[in-house]
């Protein structure tokens, strides 16, 4: 850990904070809660206490802003810089600023609190079923007033639990209208508006009047973002318009065409070419809680750590079950000392003679022998999840085996089936199904003729027939150059050839001769135009070629045209 020069710290333990404004992405109560939990991260291990002020000057003033937001360090639009904070002291010192061009969530996709309805403000449940259709966003289907709503359980038809989603038709935030809804149309400086606008402001926040005339009544509020709204770009808050045309081509889903950074975007009118109105498509977003906990570390006197698992490491990483790293604890306790007083004790189960407390026992599933088959396929039992696959930003390898897409990470794997409207399966232990493989794998493919599965890691490979393995053997045996460090992807071609990818080149392996064909390597760009040159995984699935980089995939048809760019977690059927 590091502290600021001179060990800057607060000279009192009862630190105050004030939330100056809110983000349109999240309900105020969720933001309040995220900040409170972020302070608790530090008060749990130090004698510090944090008290919220609602007016006046607090030690830590918290605000959301975009680009130039009033200090010398402008933000940079979506992604990149997420937030910053100043070390303890007077004035701007101690303050924390959050980039509102980010999509703020709790880290795993839209966190939509509902209003009114009959669900007591519960969060939306995505996806949910309504009249035979599955919805992954709020919808105004089934209503004639246009109000977006969602179910708060998986099946509206069964449970009838619902609430309304944030929209300007329901409420505004901040401003001077006590949360009243927008009134459309409204008049501002003689012009009539039928939707929220950023006119009249230089901070890019969308607002509306809450009476028919702002000019007359001066009543206004800020518009909450709908979950279907685009992020950033130049149409913040507007929904995608599908289909839209871009460079003469029609798109009916978000695309990364035209961008070198792979981010998904859409136009918010029917023609980007004509209107140039666009924004980024909503993604998993950044956890406000995790980023705030990091920034409050700065506000308390910690600089960046070079320990990758520390909260004070400068890069963002989503962790579902967060706990402070010892490096963070050592750092903050160096400044403020350890927490004093008795440690909280966990609640004990109450025991009575009539109902003795018992330890939960592991239940073994009962199996029924099948009368149809005399041979039994091995059953691999899911193990306790070590990690949420939907928050993995880079799988070790992805490949299709026996019609199911397999996602490998750190000795575990998950499975998902295309088109199956069901959750992924797993995690399973790799060692249970393919014994003696190393934990870290680079790529794999199934031989379509023999169903043998080839695994590659570093300069070695294994060939599995069921659970029987041949290997490890060195990849030079296949005719690959001995300078090659690893094989990162594989595409089956026909029934006897496989393309093996490494870096910016690929080789063609003849499965019959077990040798690389003459005329290879070839440069990826010569054959596969429009996919990233630094893909860390390449695989064949449902007749399409997939090239993965981080959380994105580029899908290519067999005619080698990129027809879709998406998120890997879509393939995993993540919510």
């Amino acid at each position: 850990y590091q502290t600021f020069e001179g060990d800057l710290k607060w000279d009192h333990n009862d630190v105050t904070y004030r939330i100056l404004n809110y983000s349109p992405d999240l309900d105020a109560s969720i933001i309040d809660d995220a900040f409170a939990r972020a302070f608790n991260v530090w008060s749990d291990v130090t004698p510090l206490t944090f008290t919220r002020l609602y007016d006046g000057t607090a030690d830590i003033m918290i605000s959301f802003g975009k680009k130039n937001h009033g200090d010398p360090y402008p933000f940079d639009g979506k992604d990149g810089l997420l937030a910053h904070a100043y070390p303890p002291g007077e004035g701007i010192q101690g303050d924390a600023h959050f980039d509102d061009d980010e999509y703020w969530t709790l880290g795993s996709g839209p966190a939509i609190k509902t209003y009114y309805g009959n669900a007591d403000g519960a969060m939306c449940h995505f996806p949910f079923q309504f009249e035979g259709k599955s919805y992954s966003t709020c919808t105004s289907e089934g209503r004639d007033d246009g109000l977006p709503w969602c179910a708060t359980t998986a099946d509206y038809g069964k449970d009838k639990k619902y609430g309304f989603c944030p929209s300007e038709l329901l409420f505004t935030y901040d401003g001077n209208s006590d949360g009243a809804a927008c009134v459309f149309p409204f008049v501002f400086e003689g012009k009539t508006y039928t939707s929220c606008t950023t006119d009249g402001r230089n901070d890019e926040y969308r607002w509306c009047a809450t009476t028919a005339s702002f000019d007359q009544d001066k009543k206004y509020g800020f518009c909450p973002n709908r979950d279907t709204a685009v992020i950033g770009g130049n149409s913040e808050g507007d929904p995608c318009h599908f289909p839209f045309t871009f460079l003469g081509k029609t798109y009916s889903s978000c695309t990364s065409e035209g961008r070198s950074d792979g981010k998904l975007w859409c136009a918010t009118t029917s023609s980007y070419d004509k209107d140039n109105k666009w924004g980024f498509c909503p993604d998993k977003g950044y956890s406000l809680f995790l980023v705030a906990a990091h920034e409050f570390g700065h506000a308390l006197g910690l600089e960046h750590s070079n320990i990758q698992d520390a909260l004070m490491y400068p890069m963002y990483k989503y962790i579902a079950d967060f706990s402070l790293n010892q490096d963070d604890i050592d750092g903050i306790q160096y400044l403020y000392g350890p927490k004093t007083g008795p440690k909280p004790t966990p609640p004990k189960p109450s025991t009575t003679t009539s109902s003795p407390a018992t330890k939960p026992t592991k239940q073994t599933p009962k199996t029924t022998p099948s009368s149809r088959s005399t041979t039994t396929a091995p059953v691999y039992t899911p193990v306790e999840p070590s990690v949420d696959p939907c928050s993995v930003d880079k799988f070790d390898l992805i490949t299709e085996i026996q019609g199911e897409l397999h996602f490998f990470k750190d000795g575990y794997y998950w499975k998902s089936v295309s088109g199956a409207n069901e959750d992924r399966k797993g995690p399973f232990l790799v060692s249970e199904r393919w014994p003696n493989l190393p934990t870290k794998l680079d790529t794999a493919f199934e031989d379509p003729l023999t169903n043998k599965v080839y695994f590659f890691t570093g300069t070695q490979f294994w060939v599995f027939t069921g659970q029987d393995a041949m290997g490890p053997r060195r990849i030079e045996k296949l005719g690959l150059p001995d300078s090659l460090k690893k094989v990162e992807g594989a595409l089956q071609r026909g029934k006897a050839k496989v393309l093996l990818f490494s870096g910016e080149e690929y080789w063609r392996l003849d499965l019959k001769t077990q040798q690389i064909d003459k005329g290879y390597p070839r440069h990826i760009d010569m054959t596969f135009g429009g996919v990233p040159m630094d893909a860390h995984d390449v695989f064949l699935y449902n007749g399409h070629y997939y090239f993965c980089r981080d959380v994105y995939y580029w899908r290519m048809t067999s005619r080698r045209q990129v027809d879709r760019v998406g998120y890997v977690y879509e393939l995993l059927n993540c919510p």
Binding site: Y73, D76, G77, D79, R259, S260, W278, G529
Partner: protein, 89 residues
Amino acid sequence: WCHPIKPKFVVFPGDVLKNMTDTDLAQSYLKRFGYMEILDKSGHQGSVSTSKALKRLQNQLGLKETGHLDQSTMEAMKKPRCGVPDVRN
């Protein structure tokens, strides 16, 4: 098999990326996060070479210290992060 499509990149209105080259991005990153201007032991501020700055960055981020703008370093520079500088100066 048709001819592969050549990607065409567009500068979107208001997009801050502005098609920066990797070298431009690295220079701006190293400067922005404090790796280029270092205080020496006597308290004087001086510039260091890009190679030294890269090594310091690679050390800070737990990457292999090559002093070159390699792929893992570029990937790290493109990751979302906190805006507070890494190097005290």
